[in-house]
């Protein structure tokens, strides 16, 4: 091999393109070897770059969990909220300053378990935020407890004989609550995930991208599925792309086919559009369209 292509941090003559988007003082990150979370961060950074949005107009909000760390690592205005409350915090940011692109990056447990109520209402109101739900099928950070997304029969620390609770199908949940954009990819499908993030950012209203991601240490190990690399190989062999699929058909069973694709793209009035429209009707000319609560 050639010497010039292998560099140690000290002699590195050229910075990694991600370095300027990361808080390098917090690196190395805490994520385990073969965890897929780092890939999701790269895809988000690429999508922001592709979208051409100024990073000054972007805010990233996370809840608690391994995925929640994203807000601490990405170098844009970001906030690591309390568990389950990423969406309400993001809603507040968006309403205070509607010009901001507000992105929630959080885990399946954070968004669908403790934060499930916020999730359904943000979708119902068609709040103009982008939600990236990293689904590793488990509460990873706290030791592999069962989540409302754990597939039936999968092992979790609080389901030592296998899970008997039926999981949520996240795209169906978002769709039935009225989300404007719904897609699911795996962390292996980096380019498609990047495109989906960019589309979700551009779509007005509530957009959701579920990213099926390996958790090597808790989910894979507890279920004897090998490493995160083995899970990527599993996705490679068992993911089927079906754009526009009926979201009712998107259940994920333990170690069986995972359907991926862009399922929903619909235009429905956003929360702020409905607000302006209604108050315009009620108050007529006296009403001034909502412009946010921050002074420039």
């Amino acid at each position: 091999m050639t010497k010039e292509t292998t560099v140690t941090e000290e002699t590195q003559e050229q910075a990694h393109p991600m370095d300027e988007l990361l808080r390098m003082d917090r690196m190395p990150h805490i994520w385990c070897p073969t965890c897929g979370l780092g890939t999701v961060v790269t895809a988000l950074a690429m999508a922001l770059d592709k979208s051409g949005i100024s990073l000054d107009d972007v805010a990233v909000v996370s809840g608690i969990g391994c995925t929640g760390r994203v807000a601490g690592y990405i170098k844009v205005d970001s906030f690591h909220t309390t568990h389950g409350r990423a969406i309400p915090f993001a809603t507040g940011l968006h309403l205070a300053n509607p010009k901001l692109k507000v992105i929630v990056v959080s885990g399946d447990g954070d968004l669908i378990a403790i934060g499930g109520n916020h999730f359904i209402h943000a979708a119902r109101r068609n709040m103009d935020i982008t939600v990236i739900c990293v689904n590793n099928f488990i509460y990873a950070m706290t030791g592999g407890q069962v989540a409302p997304t754990t597939p039936l029969t999968a092992n979790a620390s609080t389901m030592p004989y296998g899970n008997f609770e039926p999981p949520f199908n996240i795209p169906y949940l978002a769709d039935s609550c009225g989300a404007s954009y719904v897609a699911r990819w795996s962390s292996l499908h980096v380019r498609r995930m990047t495109t989906a993030f960019a589309e979700a950012l551009a779509a007005p209203g509530f957009s959701l991208v579920e990213v099926v991601t390996p958790c090597s240490t808790l989910y894979a190990r507890r279920n004897r599925l090998g490493t995160g690399l083995d899970l990527l190989k599993f996705y490679h062999d068992n993911c089927e792309i079906e754009h526009g699929a009926d979201t009712r058909s998107l259940d994920i069973d333990f170690q069986s086919t995972i359907k991926l694709g862009k399922f929903i793209e619909r235009r429905r009035p956003t929360f702020l559009e409905s607000l302006d429209d209604w108050y315009g009707q009620v108050f007529g000319d006296k009403y001034e369209p909502y412009a946010g609560a921050t002074s420039e």
Partner: protein, 107 residues
């Protein structure tokens, strides 16, 4: 990635499965790989999914005690950047190499 294309063979390696008709005329880009050895945690994602099989794991260990990728075939990288996108440690990246000749594509 090939999943959306019909009858993709079930394999663990992503492979070229279609040879473009104008493959002999297309100028194939070349990439120069940069590996930040001490960031690597040995996940093997890059080695496994490089469509050109450019990388292999080192015999040596980095400061964290992991084997890390090294370039097996120096000229084979086509700058597709899949390794860079997949790497969860931000430890590998490619930059396009300026080309003198070009034109042939053996795959």
């Amino acid at each position: 990635m090939p999943q959306d294309l019909p009858s993709t063979p079930k394999s663990t390696k992503m492979k070229y499965w279609r040879k473009p008709l104008d493959a002999d005329k297309v100028k194939v880009p070349h990439g120069e790989l940069h590996i930040i050895v001490n960031r690597c945690k040995g996940c093997l994602f890059c080695v496994e999914y490089c469509p050109r099989d450019v990388l292999q794991m080192s015999e040596d260990f980095n400061v964290k005690g992991y084997h890390y990728p090294e370039v097996k075939e120096d000229d084979a990288c086509v700058n597709c950047q899949l390794c860079e996108l997949l790497c969860p440690e931000f430890a590998i990246f490619c930059v396009e190499k300026e080309e003198e000749g070009g034109g042939e594509n053996e795959s």
